[in-house]
Amino acid sequence: MNPTHPIPGAPLLAVEGLHAGYGRIPILGGISLTVAAGEAVGILGHNGMGKTTLLRTLMGYLPATAGRVRLAGRDITAASPTARARAGIGYVPQGREIFPALSVRENLRMGCLLARTPEEATIAGILEVFPRLNAYLDRPGGALSGGEQQLLALARCLCSDPRIVLLDEPTEGIQPSIIEEIVETLRGISRARGLTILLVEQNLSFISGLSDRVLILQKGTITREVPPEVARDRTLIDEFVGMA
């Protein structure tokens, strides 16, 4: 484990009363949550509830109109995306955002910009975790399938060994076989490195398979917290969020 990672159990990410929106349309109406180091927190909500908006605000693409975000005690509410990345927030966006004209290797090299280990060694290490990418190293990122791009986006994010990873719907539009692979890989890394994850999803089996806690997001606020076993049960969840 990396020595700069905080002790497991201490709050790594703390969000208090976060408001944000697009223009004058409010989307987030006071989100409060904490993620402890080494913890995987899932946020469940269906389309239009503000899942992506929340992650985009946490990453600094959207300004917070009220509230506070702290990373390991440091206030980052007004920091730029660049500053947040440098502070140790990793981001795997919706739609994956692979650099399409860069090769897979070049995409990984971009992920190594903030790595504390030499580029060659970092990429070799990450390819052991994502062996499937070995076959495509010189192919343009845009030529990979959706699932392979998702693996690449994860690998690229993990190259810098971030303190917390923000995952935006990694299962969206991806074949089930790769979803399994992603869950297994993330669990494996989670155990090996003490990875901290904040995940937003609407895929019940994925979110319950990965998360230690599940928060329900409805109309821009966190309405309740449920254990992952409950999130696995579609009829129970239907009662909470109306996910049909």
């Binding site: 990453m59 693409y61 730029s80 995306p81 660049t82 990345a85 440098r86 990793g90 981001y91 966006p93 955002e97 650099f99 399409p100 004209a101 860069l102 070049e106 090299r109 971009m110 992920g111 910009l113 903030l114 343009p140 690229r156 810098s160």
Partner: protein, 288 residues
């Protein structure tokens, strides 16, 4: 046969000149989607740098090849920090702003050095192609164009900075999430494009009249070459310059240089009609 040799040499020179005057504009437009209407004036500043440095007794090669890109690159950096960085993503505003900057630079240089045509004498002589004399300086232009294109290609393909440039060009938001500061990259790109324009001005100073309004003579050709080249900056500039330069030189040889320019423009209009995204919008799309 001698005539064919001379004509071929002139075509090469024309292509190299076009590539040289286009590259700086292409870098700024291709990387940042900014139409830099002050491009011709950046070239003019490069030419003045060469003239002033030669008058001050600086070695002519240093004055032509080293000082103009450095000084104009620095000026580009200052202009980016003072004006352009507030206008990213607003194409019309950047056009207006750079147009204003171009007028300001013309006025500034006219005030400092007067509205007169100055010159630098060519540092090399001539050689013979059969019965015809050809300027050795054309070889300098060809070498400078090849070095500029090759240097940019090497920068983009082989260096980490080049990798970051390409990634930022494709998706600045994602690059930021990986720790890149797009703001810094745009600043460096603008300075790089300005420096390349300065180099073009310095190299062309000995064969063109150096005056405050000289940029106007180049800007139209540089623009249509950028548009004709399409999204791949280096390959596009090389291909479009080859096509337009060849047409221009051949027609100018048969008729007059003025008609050569007219036919060049017509060829460009035709090309854009057939390939609206430029040559590399359809062919060689994976190139740089």
């Amino acid at each position: 046969m001698d005539l064919v040799g001379l004509l071929g040499f002139n075509v090469f020179t024309g292509v190299a000149t076009l590539a040289l005057i286009t590259l700086g504009l292409g870098v700024i437009y291709g990387m940042m989607r900014i139409i830099n209407l002050a491009h011709g004036e950046f070239m003019m500043l490069g030419a003045y740098t060469a003239v002033v440095a030669v008058d001050a007794g600086v070695n002519i090669w240093v004055a032509m090849l080293v000082l103009p890109p450095l000084i104009v690159g620095l000026i580009g950096l200052l202009i980016e920090r003072a004006v352009i960085r507030f206008l990213y993503g607003r194409m019309m505003d950047t056009m207006l702003a750079t147009w204003g900057i171009s007028l300001g630079l013309i006025g500034l240089v006219t005030t400092l050095y007067g509205n007169v045509v100055r010159g630098v004498s060519t540092p090399v002589g001539s050689f013979e192609i059969g019965r015809y004399g050809a300027s050795l300086y054309s070889l300098v232009i060809i070498a400078a164009a090849l070095a500029a294109l090759g240097g940019m290609l090497a920068l983009l393909r082989l260096t980490r900075f080049g990798l970051i440039l390409r990634a930022t060009m494709q998706n600045p938001r994602m690059a930021a999430a990986l720790g890149v500061s797009p703001d810094r990259i745009y600043m460096a790109t603008f300075a790089l494009g300005a420096g390349l324009a300065g180099l073009a001005g310095g190299v062309l100073a000995p064969i063109s009249g150096v005056s405050p309004a000289m940029g106007a003579a180049y800007i139209a050709r540089a623009f249509i070459t950028v548009l004709g080249g399409g999204p791949a900056i280096i390959t596009g500039t090389g291909l479009a310059a080859s096509l337009f330069g060849t047409i221009n030189e051949l027609v100018a040889f048969r008729t007059t240089p003025v008609i050569g320019d007219v036919v060049l423009l017509l060829a460009a209009v035709l090309l854009i009609r057939v390939l609206p995204q430029g040559i590399t919008g359809r062919y060689l799309r994976r190139s740089l």
